[in-house]
Symmetry: C2
Subunit: 202 residues, 2 copies
């Protein structure tokens, strides 16, 4: 049976880089943006449009009883649902094809029955701000306050997306096997630990 690692991560924690390096260390495929590309191909939507739709905060359409209607049509939500269905299918196919690492996209939940090694990477807010600043174009005038707001908003959107499709709380340790505070350890240390755990699991 294929051995899968799912890596969920807070924005700015460096979880994506850890996943990339881990894939090199273990010599197994790593899927992140690749999933986005495949969704675009399946849905015939542009890749950046798919990304935009997936990043739109989830809208919970409670049925409101008014004089004339019982439901609210919501085009974005329909597209989000279509995209999630395709994403679900693609993630299952990838995990059934070979051992691999999948980043985010509710993969811990979607592949739960395959007993993946479920990793969550988080970090202190100051660490995440520093990393974002470092990656930011130096010509940009974005303020620290704006970066902080941006991080908080993305975290909120990811949590809302995850909650909507899984019914679980994003980042709650009970949904994962191991959680690392990336502000505490060097990236290579986290990679070494996950790599050893992966080799130890059946």
């Amino acid at each position: 049976m294929n051995k899968i690692i799912t890596i969920s991560r807070e924005f700015g924690s460096g979880g994506r880089e850890i996943a990339q390096e881990l894939a090199k260390t273990l010599n197994i495929p790593y899927y992140d943006k690749e999933i986005l590309k495949q969704i675009a191909e399946h849905t015939k939507l542009a890749e950046n449009y798919v990304e935009k739709i997936m990043e739109t905060p989830m809208y919970f359409p409670f049925p409101i009883l008014s004089a004339h209607s019982f439901s609210i049509p919501n085009h974005t939500l329909e597209q989000q649902n279509t995209i999630y269905t395709v994403q679900h299918k693609i993630i299952r196919q990838l995990a059934e094809k070979s051992s691999c690492i999948i980043v985010g996209r509710c993969s811990d939940y979607i592949l739960n029955d395959m007993n993946p090694l479920k990793v969550f990477i988080y970090a202190d807010i100051e660490y995440k701000i520093k990393r974002c600043l470092y990656k930011e174009n130096t010509a940009s005038n974005i303020s620290l306050t704006d970066i902080r707001k941006h991080i908080v908003q993305i975290t909120k959107d990811r949590a809302s997306y995850y909650k909507f499709y899984t019914g679980q709380k994003w980042g709650e340790k009970e949904n994962y096997d191991i959680c690392f505070n990336a502000s505490k350890f060097e990236q290579h240390t986290i990679i070494e630990v996950v790599s050893a755990l992966y080799k130890n699991t059946k």
Copy 2:
């Protein structure tokens, strides 16, 4: 500077055993019941009485304005506060004496400025029930429902104690450096990982 590991753990997760074995592996002292003994010596209270007081659910005495008084005298709370103050002092002394492992008792919070390696061990409820059953006297007639209730109650009490003295949420991953789901890994695997991380940290 001394290198400290704090291990916080859910009741039934096996965290205490992990701490004991880890101490043997690293050849450093391990403090758990020893702290209770020292508190009893300092306060001149019996060890089992100290334990009982520490396990009493925290009572938050909001000042209630009535016709005759503004506060509620609470003898248990006073004892809890005295014990916490002594415990705080003892934990600081132990950590200043040598590198060591300290289990529970808000040690992650009390020693935060010493930059300890803060570990949290949790587990699925079914795993915890199985471990409790295994450890339980086979002659005992305790039901599965009662064991489950007992685990839930202890978890609630620990969270309330921690919240009262630290203002933080017990078990929230942000308060720790690494969190393990003990239902997923063999105990020796967790010990190996924490041991390697300890050796890697300055």
